[in-house]
Every structure is written in C-alpha cells, then in structure tokens.
C-alpha cells in the first residue's frame, strides 16, 4: 500500500518510470475492460491510451482511501462511453430489428473461450454493447444505466433483451456444433 502511495505521488510529479510501473500493473486488466466496450482491438487501444493519459493527468484527484483499480476502471469505462456517445450522437442505433427467440443452451457458452465471448460482445451494435456491459458485467441497475446514457429505463431493458437475443443467435450460429458435438458424445 505504501509502495502504491509512493508510485502515485511520483506519477503526480511526472516521473515516467513510476508511470510505466503503474501502467504495467493495471494495463492488461484495463485493456480487457476497453476490449469489451470497443468494436475492435484498435478502438480498445485508443481508449486505453486516452484513459491512461487521463489517469496520469488527474491522479492528484484520486483519494487514497478508495480502490485505485476501481478508479482507473471507471475512467476507462467513461472514456469508452464518451467515445461511443460522440460517434453515435446524431445517429443513435435504435431497435430496428426483431430477433426471433432461438433454442439455446447455456452449456455452449460455458464451454466457449473468453476470447470468443469477447468477440461476440464486440460485434453487438454499440448501444446494445454498452447496456449489456454495464448491466451484466459491471452490475449496474437499469436506473443507473438510464442516467448514465440519458435514455429511459424501458429503453435500457429493451436494449438488454435485444443484446441477449443477438448473442444467443450468434452463439447458436457460430458455436452450435459445440453443443451438438457434446450431445453426440454424451
């Protein structure tokens, strides 16, 4: 803890070595966060870069009584949200498609690699991706999401439902044979 305090104070003073140390400590986890909110790795890299620059510029605002990881994660999420907000401000993705319910088994997802799940999330339309991430992964309520994204709670719920349907459909389309194969072998 004491080490962290020293690193933080050196980062605030602009010491590049301390900044590199802090970055190496948190970068892999934060890159995972950025990947979930971005449409691809390139966008995630951009967000990670922008996020860490903000972290180093505003580190003096961090209070040592909280979790540094939580604080950095919040910055990464905010940067990702802001990026999507800017890009889709004038043409927001609305619920234009109706997806039929698919026959789906959770076992397929259980057997899938994290990288594959990440890819599926990245392929979601931006707003669905956001709502899914905030609700399912970050554990935010629909009310919190509605406030964060300036939408209604109903829209948030609807977007989440659509996101789930798309994910299920894609799982079945791309990884359905996993389940079939398992059933066959069972």
């Amino acid at each position: 803890m004491e080490d962290f305090k020293t690193i933080i104070s050196e980062c605030i003073a602009g010491n590049p070595k301390a900044q590199a140390k802090l970055y190496q400590q948190f970068a892999p986890k934060m890159f995972g966060v950025c990947l979930r909110y971005a449409k691809d790795a390139t966008e995630a890299e951009d967000n990670l870069q922008e996020g860490f620059i903000k972290v180093f510029s505003n580190l003096n605002a961090f209070r040592n009584d909280g979790s540094l990881e939580g604080w950095i994660r919040r910055i990464m999420i905010n940067v990702s949200l802001e990026k999507i907000r800017k890009q889709h401000l004038l043409y927001p993705v609305e619920d234009v498609s109706i997806y039929d319910s698919v026959n789906f088994s959770d076992d397929v997802v259980a057997k899938m690699a994290a990288e594959d799940l990440m890819k599926l999330i990245q392929e979601l339309p931006p707003r669905y991706r956001l709502v899914f991430n905030l609700y399912v992964i970050e554990g935010m309520s629909h009310q919190e999401i509605a406030e964060e994204m300036s939408i209604t709670q109903g829209t948030s719920k609807s977007n989440l439902a659509r996101a789930r349907e798309i994910l299920k459909k894609k799982v079945v389309e791309n990884f359905g044979e996993l389940n079939a194969h398992n059933n066959y072998t069972a």
Binding site: A27, Q49, F52, Q87, L89, I137, R164
Partner: protein, 472 residues
C-alpha cells in the same frame, strides 16, 4: 428469466477479470501524451500569469505616471515657496498683500456686505496682485516631458497583449488547415458507416468552429461607484482653500458596451459610459495661526474661507481641493468680510457657514481587453484597459442650510482626460445568447482632472458593474 441470469453469469465470470496484454508501443504513446498534457497545463498557467502580469503592468504604468505627475507638481511647489514665504512679510510692511485665491488681477470698489467686524470695502486701497498667478500658470517644460513618457509607458503593455492575441489566432488557423488536409486524405478509405460518423464529427467540429469565430456582445450596465478624491495642492494654494467635507462619495453610472470576441479567450471591448464625480467643501474648521481665529470666541464656529472678488463683474472665486470655484456673482445668503491681515478686497473672507458641492459628469469611451480565465456556463474574466473621458457637466452648488442652489462652476477643468481600469468579471449564461454580468472594477485617473498647476486632482473609484449582455 432464469436462463437469462445464467447466461449473464457465464459472461460475467469469464469477462469480468479478463486480461490481455496491450501492444508494447502504447506505453510510449501514453507517456508522451501525459507529458504533453503536463506541458499544456504549464503553458496555460504561464499564459494566464502572463496576461495577469501584462494587465497589472498596464495598471502600474498608471500609478507610475501618477508619481511622475506628483513629482512635477512638487517641483512647482518648490518654485512657488519663496514667493509664499515672502508674501506675509511684504504684506506686513507694505499694503498687507492678500493671500492668493485664484491668480488674476483684482480691483477693489464697492461695498460687499456688512458684519460685526466689517468695514466698507471702498475704504481699502486697490491692490494689484500680479505675483500670485499660480492659478493660471502652466507647468514647466519638465512636466511636458513626463506626459510624453506616459504615452510610451501605456503603449508598451498594450502592444505586448496585442502580440499575444495575434499569435493565438495564427496557431489556431494553422491547426485548422492541417486538420482539413488530414480529413480529406482519409475519406476514401472509410466504410459508409465510418463516413457517416466522420461527417457527424465534422459537422460538430464545424459547429464548434463557428462558435469559436469572432462573436459580438452588446450590453447595458449600471454601476454604483464609490469615488475617492485623491488631491494634493501647492502649499500656497492650500493655505487659502475650503476644507473638504468628504473625500469620498457614491455616484451612479452606467452605459452601453460593445464587445468583440476575437477567439475563445480574448475579447476587446468598448462602448459609451456615463460617470459622475463630486467634491464637497465647507468654509469651516481651519485655524492654522490666522489672526481671526485668535480673536474669535473659543469653541465657536469659525468661518474664514478666502474669496476673491472681481469688483467689475462681481464674480467671486474660491479655492477648493479639486480646483478654483468660479461663482457667477456673489451668491445670495452668503456673508463676506475683510481679513484682518489684508484689508484689500481680494482678501475677503466668507464669514457665514456654507457648503459647496462640485459635480462633474463624464462620458467615457473605453478600450478594454478581456481574457477569459474560466470558460463555462459561469465565466470568469479578467479585464483591463484605458478610457478617454469627456467632461460634459461641471456645476457647483451651494448649500447654506436653506436649500441647494447652483452658484457656478469649477475653473480650469480638463475637457478630456484619461483613466486606467482593472477588473474581474463574472458572467452567467441565462440562455444561449443572454448573460448576466457582475464586474467589480477599479478606475484610476491618469492625469489631473484640473489643469491648474497648483492642484493635482486624481480621484479613483471602485464600482460594481452589473448588467445584461446579448451575444450574436
């Protein structure tokens, strides 16, 4: 529903703590970016400090000029002092030369008024008072030199501020041009979605760019201003002067302002403002070794202000802290007598109680520079600059306890003078175009408002300007 929860949990378990090593080159970019932000912050701090220093310098220039002016006046006093010290001796031996009031030739004839210790004025011999012409004397050549230094002292800080503005403008133009070139190269490689997104982005940038272009603001302001009269006089003048009843008073001013925003931070402001100044004087209180005081009852009110009367026109003049009051005739209700020390007409003293109120009105045409320190819904701005002030009203009133009557004007008032202003502005946006302003300002007159070389009248005022402005 339960199925959805299971699905959610599966995603959460696998992705919540998902880690992936980012590309190595990112660290370099981040460190460079963080260093850039630090540099920008430093530059910003230096820039704000620079602007503050420039405005302060401009204001200090005014104070320095003030000191220089006072030195000039000090020289004048030294020159006049031997005359002043010699005068009583001469007066005692010869005709009892009068204490100087306002330098001009005076001829005695006609009775003025009566009183306990009064005698008819025609008994006193005619006195030619050529010696004491300080009231209309001009300053020596050295004084003019100070005035020319004033110009260079004022122009230097102004030029440095204008240089900063033009640098800002150039850098913004270069960056905009660069961005336009980059965008045009990239368009061909984008997908349709990306192109739409880019277009949106460009539209936003264009919209923001429009906002950053020159904008105009017009507004109206009113200000209660607390004026403090800072005056000094030569010793000879002060010996025969009305005593100031108040050194400070509150006047209401205001006007219309026009502001042009050259970019996000800088703007230039002008307009037309009205402002008032005042000076109250009484003819009581002074006791400094005059013979009349020795004869007066102890503790009784003692009035001794010297007046100079032109027997031909019956015009009367009296010295006040802000200049010589020129009466249009001898005011009714005033009782005049002759001095024990000088029995000539020019040594007449006002022996009844009276208060004299000198009012000056000015139309100001300012030129201010403003710099936005905080740019948000609640803006904070720093402002500073100079005003040309045109004298449009010069009146003197007398209050003898029975009402206020206009009795004349103040002599030798400059028709045009200059003042320096420094202020801190707070602007709150009520809507997109209308904002509410609150601006405490301090104004200091750079040259004496009275051209009489024996008087240095440089008031300063603290005003709180409030008003609305419309932006387009």
């Amino acid at each position: 529903m339960k199925k959805d929860k299971n699905l959610d949990e599966l995603f959460r378990d696998k992705l919540l703590n998902y880690e992936q090593e980012p590309p190595a080159y990112l660290l370099e970019n981040i460190l460079a970016g963080a260093a850039g932000v630090r540099r920008k912050k430093k530059i910003m701090i230096w820039r704000v400090a620079g602007v503050a220093a420039a405005l302060l310098l401009a204001f200090v220039a005014g104070w320095q000029l003030n000191t220089a002016d006072r030195e000039g006046l000090g020289l004048q006093v030294v020159v006049n002092e031997p005359q002043g010290t010699e005068a009583p001796d001469l007066a005692g031996k010869k005709t009892g030369a009068a204490p100087s009031v306002a330098g001009s030739e005076q001829l005695a004839s006609g009775q003025v008024s009566s009183g306990d210790r009064l005698r008819p004025i025609q008994d006193t011999p005619a006195v030619k008072n050529e010696k004491f012409t300080a009231g209309t004397e001009r300053l020596p050549a050295g004084y003019i030199q100070v005035a020319s230094n004033e110009e260079s002292g004022l122009l230097k800080p102004l030029k440095s501020i204008l240089g900063l503005i033009s640098q800002d403008k150039e850098s913004v133009l270069v960056l905009q041009e660069k961005k336009r070139e980059e965008v045009s190269d990239e368009v061909e490689e984008k997908t349709i979605d990306q192109q739409i997104m880019e277009m949106n982005h460009q539209m936003m940038v264009a919209q923001n760019g429009k906002e950053k272009k020159g904008r105009w603001l017009v507004g109206g302001q009113v200000a209660p201003a607390y004026n403090v009269n800072k005056t000094s006089q030569s010793e000879q003048y002060a010996n025969n002067m009305l005593s100031s009843s108040s050194d400070a008073q509150v006047e209401l001013g205001g006007g219309v302002s026009v502001e042009y925003k050259t970019n996000k931070r800088w703007s230039i402001q002008s307009g037309v403002y009205y402002s008032g100044l005042g000076q109250k004087s009484g003819n009581t209180g002074y006791s400094g070794g005059r013979k009349e005081y020795a004869f007066s009852d102890q503790g009784a009110a003692y009035f001794n202000a010297s007046a100079n009367i032109d027997a031909r026109t019956s015009n009367m003049m009296m010295n006040s802290a802000s200049g010589v009051i020129e009466f249009s005739g001898i005011p009714s209700g005033i009782v005049l007598g002759t001095s024990i020390e000088d029995k000539s007409l020019s040594s007449a003293v006002v022996v009844s109680e009276a208060q004299f109120i000198q009012n000056f009105e000015y139309i100001e045409i300012p030129l201010y520079l403003r710099y936005t320190l905080i740019d948000s819904r609640f803006d904070v701005e720093m402002m500073g600059g100079f005003s040309s002030n045109l004298l449009v009203g010069n009146q003197t009133f007398m209050d003898s306890g029975e009402g206020k009557t206009r009795v004349g004007r103040t002599k030798d008032m400059e028709a045009l003078n200059y003042s320096g202003t420094l202020g801190l502005g707070f602007r709150y946006g009520l809507s997109k175009h209308i904002s509410l302003n609150l601006e405490p300002r301090i104004k200091y007159y750079l040259n004496s408002l009275n051209s009489n070389s024996s008087v240095d009248f440089k008031p300063y005022s603290v005003g709180i300007f409030t008003g609305l402005s419309y932006e387009f």
